[in-house]
Symmetry: C2
Subunit: 296 residues, 2 copies
């Protein structure tokens, strides 16, 4: 088996989704200028595009190539993820002035524009899924995946629990509920969107769903750890905020060392669900390790 250069793989996939996003924005007419500027400012920002890369890599795993449906779904999940960051950064929410190495949307523009830009990105994701996916069946499957992961029983539930748990006693059950909903369901959705784009069968979808959930949980633990051990410039967002805001995090509950072990365990569990794919799953496995080894 060849050694996989996962950083290079991720950079290539990010490039593909960035091209797709540039294309979509360049051809979207009728958006008021200031709103279009805000959407572009947040969506074209130098993000990691990890969720998009997962869509593309999963599609590649199941059908051997990155197809147009995967690119559309990848752009859609980045739109939804970006909207959640824009709204999360608002003063009434996490109140963060700094995101992806630059002033957050409401600082670069204003609060009203940031609210509307977030609303717009969420709606745009469903517009491209409904317009650009090649068969109605896949379009509907993808809209379901995205809506369920992003909705009030998914990501929004996670954001709500996250806020409610601020400055309360750390609680393992609540912590898991926050991480599953706030982060892991969107990772799982990324995997499921890639599986749908590549026409995976039901057995493959089941394994991939498990992988996605574990990957997402590992990612969020790594994120919690980075908030403590890294700095604002490296992260591109304010470091040390979790402790300052009394957030429920793995390191706060279990300590750094134990949290690292838990993340590794989840990556291992995730990787096992890919066994049936054999060597072909090498890239997704490397991605899982990269997610907990990253520095930003």
């Amino acid at each position: 088996m060849l050694k996989i250069d996962i950083k290079n793989e991720l950079a290539q996939k990010a490039e593909l989704v960035n091209e797709k996003i540039d294309f979509l924005l360049a051809h979207w007419t009728g958006i008021p200028k200031r709103l279009a500027d805000a959407i572009k400012y947040v969506l074209v920002a130098p993000g990691k595009r990890i969720r998009a890369a997962i869509v593309l890599l999963t599609c590649e795993l199941v059908c051997g190539e990155v197809n147009d449906d995967a690119l559309t779904a990848a752009a859609a999940i980045e739109m939804v993820h970006t909207y959640s960051l824009v709204h999360d950064d608002l003063p009434a929410m996490d109140d963060d002035d700094f995101r992806r190495g630059r002033p957050s949307c409401h600082k670069a523009f204003d609060e009203a524009t940031a609210i509307l830009a977030g609303d717009a990105l969420l709606t745009m994701a469903f517009e491209i899924i409904s317009k650009d996916i090649r068969t109605p069946e896949k379009s509907v499957e993808m809209a379901q995946i995205l809506a369920m992961a992003a909705g009030p029983s998914g990501m929004i539930a996670g954001q709500m629990y996250d806020m409610q748990a601020e400055n309360t006693k750390q609680d393992a059950q609540m912590l898991e509920l926050i991480h599953i909903n706030k982060t892991a369901k969107m990772f799982q959705a990324s995997v499921c969107l890639g599986a749908a784009a590549g026409s995976a069968n039901e057995t493959q979808k089941k394994s991939l769903r498990q992988f996605g959930m574990n990957l997402g949980l590992a990612f969020q633990i790594a994120d919690d750890i980075l908030d403590i051990v890294s700095d604002t410039v490296t992260l591109g967002k304010t470091a040390g905020k979790d402790a300052q805001q009394g957030k429920s995090t793995y390191p706060a509950l279990y300590g750094l060392e134990e949290s690292r072990k838990k993340a590794e365990k989840m990556v291992q569990a995730g990787i096992e669900s890919l066994d049936a794919f054999g060597d072909k799953a090498g890239i997704l496995k490397s991605l899982a390790f990269e997610i907990i080894d990253r520095t930003k």
Copy 2:
């Protein structure tokens, strides 16, 4: 032709969509309690359900009955409309403490919960469209209609222009752009969703689209007029706000009398596009007159 009791018709249709919404909310699991409370508070509030009624009446016009797809679409458009009100009322937006006769969402709960409840309602609309519509083709058609009307080239564009035009010189072209985007496109979407639910043919859809646009413009002019001539208790929202905030409105540009004439002209134009439907279109025609004659 029998005389049509349009108020009674609207009340019956509102009852149908209210039952549908109650059912959907009662069966939606996994929403954090406070978030579910906020969603229920705003969505079950005593609204006019005019957009939902248009979906149902249009479906009835083209296929003779209100089917399940129409009820789902009616609930979806009310979710999207309600989300737009919740976000519009936020302090950073129109800053309104009063809506549908009660404290607005961020007053009854808090700003963060209101932001998330709005986000949730928008996502829920696409979830039910992707899950509950009977054929993938119709589901995709409806998701497109909804996303395009509600997105950054539709309703959100209207909200953005509306804010930008505050306290600037009244301008007929900008006023039309605001009303088309902020209000008329969602009315048009309501008509188109009903047409899709009832399997209208292309000729019918074209006539109905025209009707929807005119109906929406007439509704917004009537809304602008009511903001001046009515009071807060009757409206259930703060009266006199447009002038106070220096909004671009028809009465501000043309005066009350001329605005009334323009609304009537639009209703007439809308009604003409229904000619091919004959007597069957009587209810939609009555609805159009009711929209400019209403007191709240």
